[in-house]
Amino acid sequence: MIERLVENWLDNVNERGYEAAFCQALAAKGYRIVHRSSHGPMEQGKDVIAVSQNGEVCAYQLKTGNLDQRIWRSISGEVNDLVESAILHPNIDPTVPFKPFLVTNGEITDTVRLDIVAKNLAWRNRQREPLQLILKHDLFNWFVELQGRFLPTTPVDFQRFLGLYLAEKRDFLDKRNFCEFLESFLPIDDEIPRAEIRRVFSATAVIANYVLSGFQSVENHLAVAEGWIIVITYLLRIAESFRPYRRLWEPALRLCIAGMEDSLQLLADEALSNPHLIEGDPSVDMPFIAARKTIVLGYLAGFAIYNRLAEKKHPQDFDFFGKVLQGFSPSQLHLWSESASPYIFAMIAFVWLYGREGQACRMAGSVANTICKANSRSQPVGLPDAYFEPQDLMRAMALGENPFGHHQSFVGRSQSIQTFVEFIARRYRKRMLELLWHGISEIDPDEFVPTKAADLCRWRSKKGDSQTRRWPHPQDWNSLLRVAEKRETPDLLLCADFPELVVLFFLVFPHRMTPALSRFIDLRIMDSVNSAGR
């Protein structure tokens, strides 16, 4: 059954849709991916460049569908470039011969095959390597072989997979379902033979690609980015048990990160070109604009911070800042629940990076104050916690449903208030906190601490403690500052080796924005300014 599904996927995906899976399959075979193209004019017909374990350099051009004589003629220029142009990449000697491959998820006609045979003769005569083909059935075999035992096997898992595969692609990605699907086959905390590590990572990414390429085809860049961030998070969760074997799992992880970067870039391009962030049917869009703005601007800020922490300041960093600043006021953003807090945290950190400390702190103070008012003990329900996604709440609001449990309340506590309080404290804005403190002192900081620290990188954890603590009455400024400035790297691979991903992780897993993690990343952000300047 799953083979039929892979075949169906291959029939319906374009080259951008299967490129990530193709690279993962190469990585699983031990190839090192040296370059993935941005599909611009400077690619000399080479979409992917990879080096095999024995040092053979290979260049691939990816196409979609059946190649008949007409299409073959239209792409012959690119194919000539693929075979004849030297590889221009700093890591590859341009004089070294390379093997050119034409890849398609369709088949070729006999006339094209004969034409390739003839051209190969000519290329051989000119000391070029002959063009080789990777066709649909080859790709099919690669993917099915790679997935092996990682494919969903039980009817429930298969149903979940189908649900994701056939989901409405213009909607949000069902993050919870996607995580549950990954957990259904990932060997979390299981022993994996060393030889299998590479395959586990690549297979996970390929299976994820089946789900995400549908969203990619309708240009739902947010869903694709979120999907890749989830895959990266889960791969890091598995990698916790295999820290010493980094060279085995890192190539697959890096390809997922590249997939995430591509989709975030596309999301950013779209956001920058859409002045009012109106989307879809405008006749009913008004109630959703503030939430969309919060999400999109949060991602712009998160993407900019990601690039800065990865020490590759984005060329459009200033454009991102301008866009974020346009919407950076409490009246334009929407705090639908505490799952909105990470977006605002990303924005305030980004605005701070541009030297707007006062503006950043005022926004942090405004969010803290909103939480205090909403969750004051005199309120009946309060601001929903970070487990409530915007689409669930907005659906309930629009349809007049009650999204909460029996007598469910959120008053008197908050998962994100400490993050905003500490953000202000680290900027020594004591006076601001003094003015807000009466309200803050009524709201107990609340966080979930999993028994196994690494389980923070899972959507839900069955083992752990939901901790509610009180602020001291009175709160000593110096003690608060000591906590806010405490330098401690949480015991997570995500923090130790991939801190640049932490803010994006918060955006997808808002219930994981714990005080310790937000403190860690904010201090990193502050350090990045000290070391590189704003």
Binding site: H407, Q408, R413, S461, D465, Q467, T468, L480
Partner: protein
């Protein structure tokens, strides 16, 4: 399997269960006034008391088994199920209420806030003795938010006729004013401590 109208029935069943929760409330008048915090993850929860102690607890399961003979004709089956559910709501209400009072008893014993009347009949001065031991909050207008007093119906029957007399008793009124004035001072003191210092 015979045709079941499964999905529709599942939706109706959900609604019925929500209704049952409301009926349980009717049998647990004190418990139903308490807010519910949903713990989405984990197997324990912990909180800090006003004294700063951290209390860690595990979740308790509360169940009530009901049995209905499977061979009843449909009309009787529906009636029987509804009757059993009513029994269940009563039983669950009792369990919730009992569990709540057990927890209160356990906490008041531990913290020394329990008041032993030593078999004496109820008198309002006991109430003020109790209030003396408790932190009392006041609303924004400065009115006391006094705790809910739970008495047995038989006891209430016995004390009800005396309430007007107690309300006009100058000694008790003086005691009430004194206690509440002290409590307000304590509350203002607590409120004044809700600040950032240093």
């Amino acid at each position: 399997m015979l045709p079941d109208f499964f999905s529709l029935k599942r939706e109706l069943s959900k609604r019925f269960r929500r209704q049952l929760r409301s009926e349980i409330d009717a049998h647990a008048p004190v418990w139903s006034q308490i807010r519910a915090y949903v713990m989405v993850e984990g197997d324990t929860f912990s909180f800090q008391t006003v004294d700063g102690d951290v209390q860690k607890q595990k979740f308790k399961m509360m169940t009530h088994r009901i049995e209905v003979p499977a061979d009843l004709p449909p009309e009787q089956m529906q009636l029987k199920v509804q009757e059993k559910f009513r029994e269940m709501t009563e039983a669950m209400g009792r369990k919730f209420e009992t569990s709540l009072f057990e927890s209160i008893r356990e906490v008041t014993d531990r913290t020394g806030l329990a008041l032993d009347a030593r078999g004496k009949p109820f008198h309002p001065s006991m109430l003020w003795d109790m209030v003396e031991k408790m932190p009392i909050d006041f609303d924004k207008e400065g009115n006391p938010m006094l705790p809910c007093m739970v008495v047995h119906p038989d006891m209430f029957k016995a004390i009800e006729p005396k309430i007007p007399e107690w309300e006009s008793d100058p000694e008790l009124r003086r005691r009430r004013s004194e206690v509440l004035a002290r409590k307000k001072e304590e509350w203002l003191d607590r409120e004044a401590r809700r600040k950032l210092v240093g």
